[in-house]
């Protein structure tokens, strides 16, 4: 369990980015998404240009219909843009076939969903192993890595439980461990606190903050200001365009709890 300490320290642990911060992870060039519903054509994204560097902690905000979910699906390689380029680690993934996109999702993207999407009737540990199974990692290695990740999210005592035996916050932590299974460069969270109470929300956001501190690139889609406040860069969408893109100079500080996540990756 990650417990909230009584008092918070104002200074966060400096991020160990190993000098990779300037490196581009995501670059979108004139990205357009048009939904063709037969009679009606809807412009989902309108010429988006966006760069996200390695090690950034980004919030994507906007109301429903603003295009943030569309962007999320494209960033996650679940959907393909109608026009434009999407470079992920320098590779243009806009034109890949479905099974090639599966491989990209498997190796390069860690998904965290609003409703956790853990697979029922499978133990916590097996759930964390799923992405490694599709990466054809050997069983012994899968188990070793799954246990290490579960230790890092503080759930080593729950490895053989099934998802329905866990609380919402615990489930989301399992999902985060699963998202990190193949050590992806990008962690993509879609409303990760949408189904959680406020205390669990804080736990999860602090977990993301620590992951960011350890060098993981985290992109969180949210419509809540207090969630976005944890991030260092906030991009707001409206009508399929970027309305604003600003640095958050004073992110919500994180309790400096040691022993958890001090050595990820």
């Amino acid at each position: 369990m990650i417990r909230l300490p009584g008092k918070r320290k104002e200074t966060a642990v400096p991020a160990d980015t190993g000098g990779r911060e300037s490196e581009e992870l995501i670059r979108l060039e004139n990205l357009v998404k048009i939904y063709d519903t037969g009679a009606l054509r809807v412009l989902g994204l309108n010429k988006i240009n966006l760069t996200i560097r390695r090690g950034e902690f980004v919030a994507i905000m906007g109301h429903s219909g603003s295009g943030k979910s569309t962007l999320m699906n494209i960033l996650g390689c679940l959907d393909r843009p109608t026009l434009g380029q999407y470079y992920l680690e320098g590779q243009d993934v806009a034109g890949l076939k479905p099974d090639e996109l599966s491989a990209i999702r498997n190796r390069k993207i860690g998904f965290v969903f609003q409703s956790f999407n853990l697979i029922s009737r499978m133990s916590v540990e097996k759930n964390v192993e799923v992405p490694m199974t599709y990466a054809r990692v050997k069983p012994a290695e899968r188990k070793r890595r799954a246990l290490r990740l579960l230790e890092q999210v503080g759930l080593l005592s729950r490895v053989s439980h099934e998802p329905n035996e866990l609380s919402g916050g615990q489930r989301q932590r399992v999902a985060i461990a699963r998202a990190l299974a193949n050590d992806p460069p990008l962690l993509l969270a879609d409303e990760p606190t949408g189904n959680l109470d406020s205390q669990a929300s804080v736990e999860i956001m602090e977990l993301f903050a620590r992951l960011h501190e350890s060098g993981v690139t985290v992109v969180v889609v949210t419509h809540e200001d207090n969630i976005a406040a944890y991030t260092h860069r906030i991009i707001t969408f409206q009508d399929g365009r970027i309305l604003s893109d600003r640095q958050n100079e004073h992110p919500t500080p994180v309790s400096s709890q040691q022993g958890l996540l001090h050595r990820l990756t």
């Binding site: 679940l78 479905p98 599966s102 999702r105 992405p131 599709y134 699963r178």
Partner: protein, 406 residues
């Protein structure tokens, strides 16, 4: 990966026990009936094979066809003719006699018992082995001199004389109108298979004894039929070939066409039994095929339900990197496991049922492992075949829509 998928499939099966069982019912019945019928067929085939082995598979009877109207004296056999056949087919024709037997009632102070006396040559023991327990078997001299000597079966001897050692006892019976006194010169015991003992059960009232065939050549040594054994070491084809050649030769010496002589061989009788059993198997096989088809459709139906229920899981797996093929294989494994488990249950039930039936009749039941393996393999194949459509449907799901599915 495959083991992973199989574990998952078994977990899914356990999670919905009743639903899984009902789904498997068609497969259970189909595979169960295939195993049961094959086993019953195999058991019967073995039973008949054993009986014919006891009787002698190479045995045959040859006589002028009952449909021939202008029967001549020469259509019958003489003793000399039968002797010459043996010389003409050395190494092939192992034994010849007139195929005659006599029934009569033997009376002693103790008992009155019906007997069947089989007329044999001295070397009958070579083609129908028995163990001589007391005294001796018939000798060539007994046969040539037409001596009224007799070798009696042990249990009949015991019933008749109160002791199995009946050597030296005498009895009188009517041989074609002449009361003849016979000497018991030996007592034999015959080993019988479980099947034959079962078949003989009702027939045990009649005693068995062997006498020289030369006593039963009435009238005028004119013999109606030639009873023979081909060499027991012959294989099926050699035997078939010999039977045909022998029939043609005998018919030829009597100025007849081969088809004018009627040949009753153990081999062709066995073939008829096989044909009959094959017919039954084919009919039941058809029923089983329909049952498997229905079972397969049941599996397809439940897999479609499962795919819909687990839409979100499919979406999640795709988001986590599962390819179309990964999802296909997962669901195909599940339907194959479902069906194969049904097959295994069917095999188990059928085996238990057939074994119980066999135990009730004290018959050793034949269950071929190859048939069991084939049945389970086939049920898995049914599962794969009927799983293709649902698995395809699952694999083609768009991950975005699947993830949003409630």
């Amino acid at each position: 990966m495959l083991i992973e998928n199989m574990k998952m499939a078994l977990a899914a099966l356990r999670a919905n026990k009743l639903r899984s069982f009902l789904t498997m019912l068609g497969i259970i019945i189909g595979i169960g009936s295939v195993i049961a019928i094959t086993s019953i067929g195999d058991t019967m085939r073995r039973m008949f094979a054993d009986i014919y082995k006891d009787i002698g598979v190479t045995q045959g009877y040859l006589y002028i066809g009952y449909w021939v109207e202008d029967v001549r004296d020469s259509d019958y056999f003489t003793m000399e003719e039968l002797e010459t056949y043996k010389e003409l087919f050395p190494g092939e024709l192992a034994y010849v006699d007139a195929g005659a037997s006599l029934s009569g009632t033997v009376e002693t102070k103790l008992q009155k018992k019906k007997f069947n006396f089989t007329g044999i040559d001295y070397n009958y023991i070579d083609v129908q082995p028995v163990t001589v327990k007391y005294g001796r078997y018939l000798r060539e001299s007994d046969v040539l001199a037409r001596k009224p000597n007799c070798v009696m079966e042990a249990s009949a001897a015991k019933e008749l004389y109160g002791t199995e050692n009946a050597v030296g006892r005498t009895f009188r019976i009517d041989v074609y109108g002449t009361m003849t006194e016979f000497n018991v010169v030996g007592v034999y015991e015959k080993e019988m298979s479980a099947f034959q003992r079962l078949m003989m059960g009702s027939n045990s009232g009649t005693g068995e004894a062997l006498i020289p065939w030369t006593l039963l050549t009435w009238p005028n040594d004119s013999i109606y039929q030639c009873h023979y054994f081909a060499d027991p070491s012959m294989d099926e084809q050699q035997l078939k070939d010999f039977n045909q050649r022998f029939q043609a030769y005998v018919a030829g010496t009597k100025g007849r066409n081969p088809e004018d002589f009627y040949l009753v061989s153990a081999q062709s009788e066995m073939g008829q039994v096989d044909t009959m059993l094959g017919g039954i198997s084919a009919a039941v096989g058809g029923i089983a095929a329909i049952s498997l088809l229905v079972g397969g459709i049941g599996i397809m139906n439940i897999m479609l339900v499962s795919v819909t229920e687990r839409t979100r899981e499919i979406g999640t797996r795709k988001a986590l990197g599962a390819t179309t093929g990964d999802i296909m294989i997962q669901f195909l494994t599940e339907s194959a496991v479902l069906s194969a488990v049904g097959g295994i249950i069917g095999v188990t039930l059928a085996t238990a049922l057939v074994s119980a039936g066999g135990a009730a009749f004290s018959l050793p039941v034949v269950i071929r492992p190859s048939v069991v393996l084939l049945a389970v393999g086939f049920s898995a194949l049914v599962g794969i075949f009927f799983g293709i459509y649902p698995a395809r449907k699952a694999a083609d799901r768009d991950p975005i829509i699947a993830l949003r599915y409630e």
